[in-house]
């Protein structure tokens, strides 16, 4: 019930939401001409490093899909949205304390705005993925299929997941000061517990059950569905969707419960 009314309240202010998103992107890209380059440089550099380590040193040919670099880029771009959102939504209310204190907007908006701005950065980085895909198609090493249609589905699923986590984190960080450190450590661990540099198929069956509980596993499967021939792990998509719904529910509840205390503190 509250979830619906709060969503309605945020939607009613979508013009403001859009203004804030544009502001975020402007600030990000006005600081340097190389703004765009910075968003794609990090995942590209990391893709290069992982490619080097796992192809030449571990000689692990089965952990991902071939071409491995394409597999890595698809995963790392989505991961960047995930980690960037978590870092920024966790301090969404603190960082904008002055604005939160002076404008009467539905407070959830401060979280949603971060996820959207980061999501647009993710979308803007997709041409890089497209470029690599075309390159490998020309070389005949990859064949895309109708599974590409699942990319938008993955996007929507990841969006809701990130909003849910953000609603949990933002008020807690405003009240408990060292949450941000915990988020940083959590992100570094969670990176290896998410099929970014490996595919869920590479894990032994028992571990796979655990990985499927990670909602990002399903998201990754959806993004990669059209790029590689392997059958999508639908179980992880189903479980991931269910977990996402739970997280959104919990997030909305926690946010509503803590909102009053947060406004007094910031």
């Amino acid at each position: 019930m509250t979830l619906l009314t709060r969503t309605g309240a945020v939607m009613a202010r979508r013009q403001v939401l859009w203004t804030l998103v544009v502001r975020d992107l402007k600030v990000r890209y006005s600081r340097s001409v190389l703004g765009y380059l910075w968003t794609i440089l990090d995942p590209l550099a990391m893709a290069g490093v992982y490619f080097f380590v796992f192809t030449f040193i571990f000689k692990a040919r089965r952990i991902g899909e071939q071409p491995y670099i394409l597999f890595l880029i698809a995963g790392l771009l989505a991961w960047q949205w995930f980690s960037g959102s978590l870092t920024d939504t966790s301090r969404a209310l603190l960082a904008e304390a002055k604005l939160v204190r002076s404008t009467n907007l539905p407070r959830e908006l401060w979280v949603v705005r971060v996820v959207i701005a980061k999501g647009i950065e993710f979308l803007l980085s997709l041409p890089v993925l497209a470029g690599f895909t075309i390159y490998y198609m020309v070389k005949g090493q990859t064949h895309v299929n109708w599974g590409l249609l699942f990319i938008p589905v993955g996007f929507v699923l990841q969006f809701f997941l990130l909003v849910g986590i953000g609603l949990l984190l933002a008020p807690v960080t405003a009240l408990v000061t060292d949450t941000q450190r915990v988020v940083r450590i959590f992100l570094r661990m969670f990176f290896y517990l998410t099929p970014v540099i490996y595919g869920v198929h590479a894990a032994p069956a028992r571990v796979r059950v655990l990985l499927e509980l990670n909602p990002m596993t399903g998201v990754m499967e959806l993004y990669r569905a059209g790029l590689f021939a392997r059958e999508v792990n639908w179980e992880s998509v189903a479980v991931g969707t269910a977990v996402t719904v739970l997280i959104i529910g919990a997030g909305a509840l926690v946010f509503a419960r803590l909102e009053r205390a947060v406004l007094k503190e910031i």
């Binding site: 203004t19 600030v27 006005s30 204190r101 002076s102 404008t103 907007l105 406004l263 503190e265």
Partner: protein
């Protein structure tokens, strides 16, 4: 005249210490939060109604709950008990420069801040010249330089200018008249008078008796969170002054 602001049994409770912030480290290792748990009521059992077009001034010593009440009306603080109903939009002259970003130019900032308060791009286009005129020639010259290069006076002037061009029927003012040079202060006063003549409802917090007398016709006297007097401004100020003198 219709009621635009209605407070019923309004109350809000704060922790005495500013540092209530918890730390996970403490919670894990000491099983408790070292910050004091003592609380106090910043506002308690406050009841009043404000009708359209009224000019209300809040009077009282520091810590009396004036700013807290203003924030409650602005909707940026949620009461613990009771409720406050506000019919109509609010233009809050609180934390004036809060929405501005140092990296962006003044021009971009005007669009963004006005947008945050609900104006569309076209509406800002229409008012753009008014906003800049009011902020003064210094601001006009520097329209395309980053906002962080502005002097603090210029920053506040721009903030005041943007917020007062909003069409909202209720205007909340928290001590901001104390800013700016004498010239600008006069302009602010004139702008406030125009707003009042235009039928806006004004809610003013100030320690300046002249400001209160000039703009407030009705006074609310808050003392330690309680509304002790609700009467014409002159009477409220007389009682407040008498009590301050008596305590000396």
């Amino acid at each position: 005249m219709s009621v635009v602001i209605k407070a019923e049994n309004l109350g809000v409770e704060f922790y005495r210490s500013r540092r209530r912030k918890m730390q996970l480290r403490e919670m894990l290792f000491h099983q408790r939060n070292s910050a004091p748990r003592e609380t106090f009521w910043a506002l308690k059992d406050v009841n009043f109604e404000v009708k359209e077009g009224e000019a209300v001034g809040l009077v009282g010593a520091n810590g009396g709950g004036k700013s807290t009440l203003l924030k409650m009306i602005a909707g940026v603080l949620i009461p613990d008990v009771g409720k406050v109903t506000v019919n109509g939009g609010v233009a809050p002259l609180i934390e004036l420069t809060g929405g501005f970003i140092g990296e962006l130019s003044a021009r971009e900032n005007i669009y963004l801040t006005a947008g945050l308060h609900g104006l569309s791009r076209d509406q800002v286009d229409e008012r753009f010249d008014d906003i800049v005129d009011f902020a003064g020639p210094q601001v006009r010259e520097a329209l395309d330089t980053p906002y962080r290069h502005f002097s603090s006076g210029m920053q506040v002037r721009l903030g005041f200018s943007v917020i007062t061009t909003l069409d909202e029927p209720i205007v909340l003012v928290d001590e901001v008249l104390a800013v700016g040079d004498r010239n600008f202060k006069e302009k602010c006063y004139k702008r406030m008078e125009t707003l009042l003549e235009g039928g806006r409802t004004l809610f003013l917090v100030s320690h300046n008796e002249n400001d209160l007398k000039r703009f407030g016709t009705r006074g609310l006297y808050l003392s330690q969170g309680e509304l002790v007097m609700d009467a014409p401004m002159e009477d409220v100020l007389d009682r407040y002054n008498a009590e301050v003198d008596a305590a000396r």
